[in-house]
C-alpha cells in the first residue's frame, strides 16, 4: 500500500466526516442526532469496546514470566541491583510501570543509528520522538481534564487550577492554553515524521494517519471555537450537562464548528477500541514490563502446562548401555 494511498484515504475520511456535519447540522438541521444520539452511541462503543478488548487480553493467560531486563539483576548483596530496570519485587515493578506510563521510559532510550564512512556505525541520542510523544499525551490528558468544567455542575478546584496553570502566560484574550499549542505542534511533528522519514512512510498504514488527522481536526476546531468563532460556552455546558444527566437538550446557537468538534470526538471514542489506540490499556498488561525478574526466586505457573514426550534416562541407558559399560561409566541396570 503506498503512502499516498494511506495518507489520502485517511484524510478523505476525516474531511468527509466534517462535511457530513456541515450538511447534517448546517443544512439539514439534524441537531439532535449529532448533538445527542451520536455522542451517546460513541460513549457506549467506547466503554463497552474497551472492556471487551481488555477482557479478551486478560482471558489469555501469561504462561511464562518473560520480563525484558534492562539493568542489573539482584544477585550478590555487593552488586547494586537495579530495581527499576530489572525489578526484583512489586515495588520495583510499580516503579518501572510508573516510569513507563508516566514518562515513557523506554522511548527515552531511543537512539539513531547512522552508518558513516569507514565503515563506522554511530549511535546518536534521539529524544524527539520521546519529547513529542510525551507532550502530545500529557497535553491530551490536561485538555480532557480541562473539559470536565463542562460536565460538572461547579468546577472542582483542581480543574480550575489546571486551567489557570494551562493559561499561565495570559497571552491574548481569552488567555491562550499552552496545551492547545503544544498538542497541535506535537501532532504535526508526529505526522511530518511519518511522512518525511522514508522507513516511517514505508511502515505507516491508514490506521496510523487516520487518528492523527482526527485529533488534528479535533484540536483545530477546538482552537477555532475558543479564539476565532467564539462558541457560546454556556450553551456547550447546557448540552454537556444534559448528556451527563441523561436529560439531553439542544441549546440554540451552537455553531457548526462545535458540532464538527463534537462529532470528531465521538468518532475518536468509537474508533478507539477498534484500533491501535488501545495501547493505552495494553501497556499496563505488557508481560515484558509488568513482571518482576524473580524467575529463580519463585515459580511461575503455566495454567495450560501439559506433559510432553521426553527421552528418559532409562531409555537413554537402554540405547547406550554397552558403550557406557565399555567406557567404565556407572550404570543403573547392568
Amino acid at each position: 500500500m503506498s503512502a499516498f494511498y494511506s495518507i489520502s484515504s485517511s484524510l478523505i475520511v476525516v474531511v468527509g466526516l466534517c462535511l457530513l456535519v456541515l450538511l447534517g447540522v448546517g443544512v439539514a438541521d439534524w441537531h439532535y442526532p449529532f448533538g445527542v444520539v451520536v455522542p451517546y452511541v460513541a460513549l457506549v462503543v467506547f466503554f463497552v469496546g474497551i472492556i471487551y478488548r481488555v477482557v479478551t487480553w486478560a482471558r489469555s493467560p501469561v504462561p511464562f514470566r518473560i520480563p525484558t531486563t534492562c539493568g542489573q539483576q539482584k544477585s550478590h548483596p555487593w552488586i547494586k541491583a537495579n530495581n527499576l530496570e530489572s525489578p526484583h519485587n512489586t515495588f520495583g515493578v510499580i516503579g518501572r510501570m510508573a516510569l513507563e506510563i508516566l514518562f515513557f521510559r523506554s522511548l527515552f532510550r531511543n537512539t539513531k543509528a547512522e552508518l558513516r564512512d569507514g565503515p563506522k556505525l554511530v549511535y546518536g541520542s534521539d529524544k524527539w520522538l520521546w519529547l513529542a510523544g510525551l507532550v502530545f499525551h500529557w497535553s491530551f490528558l490536561i485538555i480532557v481534564l480541562r473539559h470536565l468544567r463542562f460536565f460538572l455542575e461547579s468546577s472542582p478546584i483542581w480543574v480550575s487550577l489546571i486551567e489557570t496553570m494551562d493559561s499561565l502566560f495570559e497571552i491574548g484574550v481569552p488567555a491562550l492554553y499552552l496545551t492547545d499549542g503544544a498538542i497541535l505542534a506535537a501532532v504535526t511533528f508526529l505526522f511530518l515524521r511519518r511522512v518525511i522519514i522514508p522507513q516511517m512512510r514505508y511502515i505507516s498504514l491508514p490506521a496510523d494517519y487516520f487518528p492523527l488527522f482526527l485529533i488534528l481536526g479535533i484540536g483545530i476546531t477546538g482552537v477555532l471555537m475558543r479564539y476565532l468563532f467564539r462558541v457560546d460556552v454556556a450553551g456547550v455546558k447546557e448540552l454537556a450537562m444534559g448528556l451527563v444527566s441523561l436529560r439531553p437538550t439542544i441549546p440554540e446557537g451552537l455553531g457548526v464548528t462545535f458540532y464538527i468538534h463534537l462529532f470528531l470526538v465521538s468518532v475518536l471514542l468509537a474508533y478507539f477500541p477498534l484500533s491501535k489506540l488501545m495501547h493505552m490499556g495494553g501497556v499496563f498488561l505488557s508481560p515484558t514490563r509488568n513482571l518482576a525478574n524473580t524467575n529463580r526466586m519463585s515459580r511461575h505457573v503455566n495454567p495450560w502446562d501439559y506433559p510432553v514426550k521426553v527421552h528418559t534416562y532409562e531409555e537413554y541407558e537402554d540405547d547406550f548401555r554397552e558403550k557406557m559399560r565399555d567406557a567404565g561409566l556407572p550404570l543403573e541396570k547392568e
Partner: protein, 542 residues
Amino acid sequence: MSDIPEGTPKPEELATIGYEPPQQGWMDTPAGFKKGTWSYSAKRKFMEHLGLPNPRDWSPSDEDWKLPENWKEIILEGLRDRLDKFRSLRLFMDICVRCGACADKCHFFIGSGDPKNMPVLRAELLRSVYRNDFTTAGKILGSLGGARELTVDVLKEWFYYFYQCTECRRCSVYCPYGIDTAEITMLARELLNLVGLNIGWTIEPCSNCFRTGNHLGVQPHGFKDSIEFAVDDLEELTGIRVEAPINKKGAEILFITPSADYFASPHYYTLLGYLALFHEIGLDYTWSTYASEGGNFGLFTSHEMIKRLNAKMYAEAKRLGVKWILGGECGHMWRVVHQYMNTMNGPADFLEEPVSPITGTKFENTTSLKMVHIMEFTSDLIRNNKLKLDPSRNDHWRATFHDSCNPSRAMGLIEEPRYVINKVANNFHEMPENTIKEHTFCCGSGAGLGNDENMEMRLRGGFPRANAVKYVHDKHDVNLLLCICAIDKATLPPLVEYWVPGVEVGGIHELVGNALIMKGEKERTTDMRGEPLKGKEDKGDV
C-alpha cells in the same frame, strides 16, 4: 584457514548498505531468497525422530514447498490456539502504534537495510494476517485496515524473515510497550513448524540432544573421552592432574554446560578453565552424559521442544541426588533456565537451596530454581578471596566484553562477568555504551542461524557488534573479545575475522584458568591455548 565461504561479498561491498525502502509497498513485495541469506531445511530423518509434522525432503529454493493440503487451515487454527494461550501474542498483535523506535535497533536491519528486518515490519508480517482473520476492523476494511490474506507467498515471507531474527530482544528494550519480537518470532516459528517448515540447523541439534543428551550427538563414551582429553591437556599445561567425575551419584553439585565447550574451539579453553577452577577449590561435583548439554535449540523451535529438551536437567539432578545445579557460560541456555525451566519442569523440590560449599554464600536469587550461573559462583569465590590469582598471566590479552543477548536482556547478568574479568586480567576496555549491557548487539548468528549457508546474513547481522569491536581494537589495541555464550564463541570468530582481523574470541573462564594459581602447579609458560605468556616467550618450547 578461513571460515568465510567462497563467494561471500567483500567487507567493502557488504558495508555499502542502502537504507532507502523500495517504491513498492511491503505487502506486495515477496521475499527474495538471495543465496547466503537463508538456512537449509530440516532433514526428514531428524524431523521423524522428533515426531514433527510433515517430514519430507524439500528446499526453500524449490518452487513447491510440499505443504500439506490444508496448510492454511492448520496455520490459522494454530494462530487462534496461540492467541488464546499467550497474552503476549494477543497484546503484541494489537497494541503496536508503528512509532518506529525499534527500526534501527535491529542488527539485521542495520546490517542489511532490508525494511522487513525492522522489528515493527517483521511483526507486521504476522499482524497483517492476524488482522485479516481475527479482528473486526481487518475483516471489514481489508487492506485499508492493514490486513492481508495468508497465501503461500506470505508463508514463504514468514519463513525468510522469522529465520532472520535471532530472538535477541534488543528491540524490546526500546519499545514503549515492551513488544518483544523474540516472542513473536518464537510463536511464528511454531506456526511454521506446524506445516513442516523447519531449518536444519535447529532441528538436527534438537534431535541429537533428544537422543544423546547434547546437540553434537556425542555419545556417552565420546563425552568421557573428550573430558579425559581435556584433563590430559590441562595436566600438560599446569602439571596438575585434575579429577573430572562423570555421572557420579551423590556429588554435591551437577555441572551443566553447552556441549560445544568440550568439542569446539575456542570454547575448549573455557572448559580447561572450569576444570582447573573446580579442582583448585575442591568442588564435589559431577558431569553428566545424559544432561551433557546446557543449550536448548527448542527455544528456536517451539515451547514444547524447549520443555522436551530441558527436562533432562532436573531429571538428572534428581537421579544423581545432587544438592543443586551449576550452569556454565551460555546465552540462550540461560534464557531457558532463567525464564522457562522452573515453570516448565519445576518445582525442583528434591534439590536444596544453593549454598556455595567454599564460601558459604547462599545464592538468594535462585532459592526456587536451584541453579546458579557460573559467573555468580566464581565472582563470589573471588569476592571472598578464595582464589589466588595472577592477572598478569593474561597480560598478552587486551580484552573487551560482549554481553550476550540473553544473560543481559533476559536475566540482568551484567556486573558479575565484569567483576571477574577485572580480577583476572589487567587490560579490559569496554565497547561504546550503546553497544553493551542491555543495549548489547547480537552476534548475528543466534536462534539457529549460525550455519554456513546463511553466512552473508550472519556477517550483516553481526556488523554492528563487529563495528563496536573495531572501535576498541583501533582505540585500545584490543585483541580479545570475551563472551559467555557458546553460540558467540562459535560464530564471533568468523565475524571478527571478516570485519576486524587481529581479534580473537574467548570465554571468561579461559582467563580465570590462566590467572588461577594452583597449588603445586609447574611454572606456567603458556596460557590455556598453549600460547606463550607475556615475558615468557623465550622459555616456551620452540
